[in-house]
Structure formats: C-alpha cells, structure tokens
Amino acid sequence: MEQIALQGLAKDYILEGSRITAVQEVSLDIRKGDFICIVGHSGSGKTTLLSMLGCILKPSAGKVFFEGTDVYSLGEDALSEYRARKVGYVFQFASLLPALTAKENLLLPTLFSGMNGGGSAEKRAVDYMELVGLGDKVNAYPGQLSGGQQRRVAIARALMNDPSAILADEPTGDLDEETENEVMNLFKKINRENNITFILVTHSSELARAADRKIKMFQGHVEEIAIGA
C-alpha cells in the first residue's frame, strides 16, 4: 500500500495580476521506504511540489494523503503536528537557527512535537550528530560550521522525530563533490537501515542515479517517471 498519495495536485500563484501555474494535475503514489528523486529545469515546479508534500504550502487544488490521512483537511495545529512527527524537511538553504548550537537546533523539532522529555532527546541529538559525522561539533554554533557541516546538521535535525519520510530540497546544492557523496551515502544508509522514505529534489545526476524512482518535472507536469538507476 502506498504511504503517500497525491491526487490531482495543483498550485497557482498570482504574480503582478497574472495567474502562474507552478504545478498542475500531479497524481502520484509513493510507497514506504521509496528513495525518489524529483528532477527538472529551474522553474519546472519541483520545489513547489515538494513543499506541498511537506505541508508547508497549501495546494490550490488536489489532495495529499499521508498514510491514509488527507493532510490538508487537517486543522492548523494538526497540520503542524504532522509536519513535526511525520516529515523531516531539509531546505535548500542554510536553515539552522543562528542563536542555537547544533545540538539545540536538533532539539528544536522535539520541542515542537513534545518528544523532548526524559533526556532521551538529548542523547538522540548526540547520536544523530555522530551519525552525520559531527560528533565533535555538538556545541558549535552555525556560524562556526562550514556550509557542508550545516547541511549535515540540518539532515540530522530532520531525523530527530523519527519521521516516516524525509523531504530534501537540493540537499547537496552547494556542497563539494566529496561532501555530496558523503551526504548521499548517508541518505542511502538511513533509507536502507530505517526504512524511511526519501523524496529529494536535485540537479545532481549522481544523486538521481541512486534513486529507486526518478520523477522528471516539466512546466508543472510530471513528464516522466523512470524506475531504477
């Protein structure tokens, strides 16, 4: 059974009086444990689609079912809980809060989901920092970390609430080749070992090759779905 189902998903924007269609009529089924890459040119609607999947952007039409629940029929608070507990989101830009240390950034989602009791969250944060190879940077502030390190902390943060799916927007966008490979291996490892669904937006052909399914977007449509590398 599919974990995530998109039905006729669409998003329009009004820009300077004109209606812009960013995504139109996308229907898609995603199974638990899938490793999916969304590719396409700039402006093809990749990020918009991912944002609607991550419940951070309301669609103009269509539905997103997550484990059978129509997420956009949920109220504001329930939607926030869905974002906190079910989805881990990795942004395409530096997304750590500058006033907090790396560990505190990891603890933030647990604070919002209420999963921060008993000191287990702190231990989990340290474990995930070690998993992303930054065990020695637990108390570092974002300003003291490189771009690649910040990205890895953001990935660790996305894992903190043990989500069912990780959505990542250009997770290796500004990383060097070596770090990109590290991140990709990390994703594959988590996907394999924890059976967590991964949906990535990427320009990287390396990353796309590693995916179980590759979804190619063109002018807001799904142009092609390729299975396997």
Binding site: S80, S95, L108, L111, F112, S113, E122
Partner: protein, 395 residues
Amino acid sequence: MKFSLFSVAVKNLKRKSFRTAVLIISIGLLVSILVFGASFILSVGSSIEKASDRLGADLLVVPSGAVDVASDVLLASKIKVFYMDKDIIQKVEKVKGVGKLTWQTYLASAPGQCCSIPPAEIVAFNQDTDFIVTPWLRKSLRRNLKKNEALIGYNSNKNLGLLNVDSTMFNIKFKFVGVLEKTGTGLDNAIFISDKDLKDIMASSSMAKVKPNQISAIFVKVKKGYNPKDVARNIMNDIMQVDVIQRANIGKRMLSTLGDINKIFLITILMASVLSIFLTWTIFSAIVNERFREIGIMKAIGAKGSHIVKLFVMEVLLLGLIGSLLGTAAGMYLSAFLSKTFALLRDLSATLTLTQRVEVVALGLVVGVGICVIGALSSIIRIKNLEPLSVLKEV
C-alpha cells in the same frame, strides 16, 4: 539552562545584545520616570496628609493672613515667624465647642549674631497645656524642661548632633536634653524651648522679634460631638484678628501645587509611553522582518502558531520585565536621592510606606511590560497566521 522555548527566547535576545540593550534601556528610562513621578506624588501627598494628622489638633488658630506661612512652618520646615496677641487665647477658650488648647511662639535663630546654632525655627511651647510636642518625647525625656533646657527635632539632631551639647540661642546658653521622635512634620527640623524662657530671651537679645504677650499659634481640640468646621466658623465669627485652619485643610495650598506637578509628570509619562510603544513597535517589526526565515523554518519543522507566539511573547516579556526592574530600581534610587536634595521633599520628610513602595513597583512593572506587549502586539499577530513557505519566500 534546560532547553525550552524560554531558553531559545533568552538566546535570541542575547544574540542581538546591542538592540536588546537599547530596548531595555528605553523601557527602563520610561519606567524610572514613572516610578519617580509616582513616588514623588504619593510621598509628598501622603506626607502632607500624615503631617496634618500628626499635629494632634483639630484646629490651628493663627494671625489673620498667616495661613500659608503657618502651613510652611508646620509642614515644610520653613523658618518663618508670625505673632498675635496672647489674650486671644482667652477669647478662643470661650468659643462654643472649643475643648483643650495650647499655644506656641515661634522664633527664628540668628546664626553668627546671637546664636551658635545654624538657622532653625525655635518653638517656645507651653508645657502645662501642650499636647503637640510632648507625645513625641515619651522615650527620650519623661519630665518637663527646666530653665535653659531645650529639645531638638529628629532631623535637626541627625543633621546637627546637638544632644547634650551647650549652645547659645539669643545670647543665652541652652542645653539640649532630649530628641523628639520622628513626626514626619515640620517639627522634625525645629528646636523646642519652654515658653517660660521667652522672657529672658527678649531681655537679652533684640534679635528675638517677639514682644511680651505675643504668641504665634493656638492649637485647638474640639469638644466631643462638635464639628471642627462649625467650631472654626465660631472662632472666625467671634475673633476678627485670626484665621483658623482645619486639620483637613492644612497643606491645601501645597496639595494644589502638587496637583500641577502631578499633571506635568502625567504628561511626561504619557509622552514617554507613546514614544516607548512606538520604539517597541519599530524594533519588533524589524525583528520579525529579520526573522521571517527563522519563523518559516520553525513552522516547517513543526512549530504551531502558538509556539511562535509564545516565543515572541517570552522575548517581549523578558525585555519588559528586565527593563521595568532596572527602571523601578533607578526610579526608586532617584526619588531617594532627590528626597535629600529636592527642597519640597526634604522639608516634608517625605517617605513611602511599604504598601506604597509595593504599589509603585507593581505600577512600574505593569506599565513597562504592558508597553512592550502593546508595542509588539501587531508584529506577533502578523507572524501567527503566516504559512511556512510564504514566510520563507519573503526572505
């Protein structure tokens, strides 16, 4: 500190320490003005009321036209003299409703000429009838003053340290043998002698302006069942040469002056409040704009609108609370400092009771925090309803 929304709020404020300091100082300044103003108005107002209560008389009979001067002497420790004929005592005694009465005669010391003490109001009181000075002497002197003995007011003793020292007043050596307890009235700054010494004083120095058979004021207690207002009217009707001040009206002129000062303080506080609200609004609008991305990120990783609101409210409350506490402390210090240098406060021995202090502190905290909340309110409402990605896209 355990990781919580509160610790995040503290870290956010610490990160922009200069801006935080500017806001805290602004709120602190406003609150210090408010606390100082409130302390001033409360302490002066209640001191005048208390002082008139503590005089122990229902009515004060003074020479015609000397009402304000008498208030100055009794409440504001001004050194002033005024006289009327002594036979007025008998006339007042006969007025319907008059109960106990006593009288005092005032002299102004003349330092460097006939007196070795600094400028002071010297009060000659009648020990046989007195009920004004004696109640404040219970602890320090349990007998009548002997010839050439004097008493010293609480503040005069503190300032001059004359107890058990021989001093010359109007060319006569006096010994200070007792100190009055603190009365909170002009009596605290005076020196007291028996009116039996007046004869010698008048004989030995021309600096004492008083003539034989003159007194300055008569203090009257009305008989039980009589209204002081009616008795005052009776005295005024029967004796043309005097004015009568009721206890409730002592210091009325000062209270009306205080009313004007009160208005000035209120206008200043109002303007400062508006300015602080505007400043808080400007700074919080800037903070929210600057932190749009952070808000979006927090929402995207599961923060509810209430989490974001709580976080910003905590920051606002922290700023308001710290600013208010500092402002309250500064305002209290300012009023304590100025009570020693401001003539009006110093002369009145104006102090706040514990309850008044608590009220002033509470007022400072409520206004300081309230201004921060009002100033930040529109920004907080704005961020509450934003969609995560719309926030991220605005960056």
